[in-house]
């Protein structure tokens, strides 16, 4: 998996790696989706656009994960997949846009795993290495 869940006593760490920042951000979101609900039980019937911004790649990662959590409640949908459609630096801001694919919540069919309250700055890491990007933060459960 291009993402990994890390042990944390109260919560959980989510680390994503990608050849590019774009890939790492995308896989971080996919990792979050897989943590919440078994993606196999969710049909990609509808599309929801999300956007996020941050002062740097780390805060952008946190903001993007939080945008996904907000989309679930606002649209009352679960998502199966995510596609990152834009990643840009405008002045001092990093901006990301993307599309979530899913369907309205149906608790009879969707295999819910756990609820995540928020992505936090706890253990926040955003580093570019020779092999690509590594993003990490603690999710508040």
């Amino acid at each position: 998996m291009p993402w990994e869940y890390l042990d944390h006593e109260a919560d959980i760490g989510l680390e994503a790696r990608g050849a590019s920042l774009q890939e790492a951000l995308r896989d971080g979101v996919r990792g979050l989706l897989a943590l919440l609900v078994d993606p196999e039980t969710v049909e990609p019937r509808e599309v929801v656009s999300i956007e996020a911004s941050g002062d740097d790649p780390g805060s952008l990662y946190v903001a993007l994960l939080n945008a996904v959590l907000a989309a679930i409640d606002v649209h009352r949908m679960f998502f199966r997949d995510f596609e990152l459609t834009r990643l840009e630096r405008v002045d001092d801001q990093w901006i990301a846009e993307g599309r979530l694919y899913g369907e309205p919540i149906d608790l009879d069919r969707h295999a819910v795993e756990i609820e995540v309250k928020a992505a936090t700055y706890g253990g926040l890491l955003a580093e570019q290495t020779e092999s690509g990007w590594r993003l990490r933060c603690v999710l508040d459960l």
Partner: protein
């Protein structure tokens, strides 16, 4: 190990890391040798460890006396869980997202009933099924209350009072909630539209993870005078419910994290961990976050009030128990920030107290305590772990002097959720609990494994440490009978 960390023993139940580096005050931990050893050995990484987090809190501007952790301490993000820290605005004191947490005003309400163990004998399964049916829980669940944007603003301004006004519960419930269920500094205008939108369908939902409704029996009384004041006796049925501000509170934290990060830079505050971003209490940014947190807190008060009503409804449906037979004993909050007056070195000071996974535990005589309990002290509710006991304790004078009137909030995690998930298959846990006479219903299997009793510290030991330290005193022990998990 403790030598390498330079931990000094103050007495058998209190240890201290003296200020070093950028620490402004000491870091104090209410532990005994055994729990200190466990905490030190459990440090999973340099940054995800509770002692380091407490040292970091001790570096924040305007912190008074010490950064403290109760016996249920474990790593959080920024502040450790089980932590308390008070800040003086006159000394540049700050307000921090990590000191409150994302589940703003998460807390526990205890309901006292007129029932005894005998009254529900043989009806436990029916009660469990009815609670499961009546109380919405788990990710994606919705409450029966569908609110308009205007009504959400009233929830944020009026808290539990608004829920009572809508017919959820009774006026007398309010007397026994911290702040009577309504914080006056709440300002819905500084809460984002997204936060309100997320909450429209969630008022009156339990949530998941460690949130629960538990039916319990009082199996031991330790302090007859306090038990009498709290209306408790052996064999009596009580109900504890644990939940918070749900998505609205989570979104306030999410919105204000980057907001306070900008403030941290603007005011030139150096923080040892990025999660500790904060703003001076009296700055416009600090004030704005405070007013937003108060609104989030009111949402949690309203949520627990609606759930109280649902619990009463379930008891009526399952057992024909009238709602007047179920009274609010008390409600305490875990993730809060509050203005309080405390005496520090003989001087009365108005301080902003952050409690992250810890409980206010005021001693006798404080005006904040309901009149009925004032002579004995504030009830302190310590949640158990499905299979183990819960406790009702009471705050003490010593706690007022030492910990700003703060005590533990639960058993405290001992194993990570992933470890617990690997080690405790849900079906096995449910079966084991059934053999102990505890009926469990859960919306997600993951929450059974992750919340398995073995994933937590020994609640008996944690309570013993805090009582031996003199911060709280035992009043009653409660044994679980029926547990509804998110």
């Amino acid at each position: 190990m403790s030598k390498a960390l330079n931990i000094k023993k103050i007495h058998d139940y209190l240890f201290e890391v003296p200020p070093h580096g950028r620490m402004r005050v000491p870091a104090r931990l209410y532990l005994d040798e055994r729990s200190l050893r466990e905490l030190v050995e459990n440090r999973s990484s340099e940054e995800w460890n509770a002692i380091r987090q407490l040292e970091n809190v001790a570096c924040l501007p305007g912190i008074v006396k010490a950064a403290m952790a109760m016996a249920d301490v474990h790593p959080g993000y920024g502040f450790p869980i089980g932590g308390v820290a008070a800040f003086d605005p006159k000394e540049g004191g700050v307000i921090s997202v990590a000191g409150v947490g994302f589940d703003i005003n998460c807390g526990v309400r205890c309901l006292r009933t007129h029932l005894t163990r005998r009254d529900i004998a043989g009806k436990e399964e029916k009660l469990a099924d009815t609670l499961f049916e009546v109380v919405p829980a788990g990710l994606g669940s919705t409450g029966e209350l569908k609110l308009s944007p205007k009504e959400i603003d009233r929830v944020l301004r009026e808290g539990a009072r608004y829920a009572v006004r809508l017919g959820y519960g009774r006026e007398e419930d309010l007397e026994y909630i911290e702040e009577h269920g309504c914080l006056s500094d709440a300002d819905p205008s500084v809460v984002s539209h997204t936060a309100k939108q997320r909450q429209m369908a969630q008022v009156g939902t339990l949530g998941s993870g460690n949130h629960y409704v538990e039916v319990q029996v009082v199996d031991q009384i330790y302090n007859a005078r306090a038990a009498q004041a709290f209306g408790l006796e052996v064999g009596q049925i009580v109900i504890m419910l644990h939940t918070g501000s749900r998505a609205l509170g989570h979104q306030i934290g999410t919105d204000y994290l980057p907001f306070l990060e900008k403030a941290t830079k603007k005011y030139g505050i150096e923080v040892p961990d990025r999660e500790l971003v904060c703003a001076p209490i009296e700055s416009p940014e600090g004030q704005q976050y405070f007013r937003a947190v108060m609104a989030g807190a009111n949402c949690a008060f309203a949520n627990r009030q609606v759930l109280t009503h649902l619990v009463r409804e379930a008891f009526w449906k399952a057992l024909r128990v009238p709602d007047t037979a179920i009274e609010t004993l008390y409600e305490v909050a875990h993730n809060t920030v509050k203005w309080e007056v405390h005496e520090v070195d003989g001087e009365r000071r108005r301080l902003l107290v952050h409690r992250k996974g810890s409980t206010r535990a005021f001693g006798p005589g404080r005006p904040e305590i309901p009149e009925r309990y004032r002579a004995v002290g504030q009830p302190v509710l310590v949640g158990g772990t499905m299979g183990t006991a819960s406790y009702i304790l009471v705050g003490t004078e010593q706690g007022m002097r030492e910990t700003f009137g703060t005590a533990l909030h639960g058993a405290g995690r001992a194993k990570s959720r992933r470890q617990a998930k690997r080690q405790y298959p849900a079906d096995r846990i449910i079966e084991q609990l059934r053999k102990q006479g505890i009926i469990v219903r859960a919306h997600g299997k993951a929450s059974i494994s992750e919340e398995a009793p073995g994933a937590y510290k020994d609640v008996e030991h944690v309570v013993e440490v805090m009582c031996n330290a003199g911060i709280v005193a035992r009043v009653a022990r409660l044994r679980p009978i029926v547990c509804l998990k998110g």
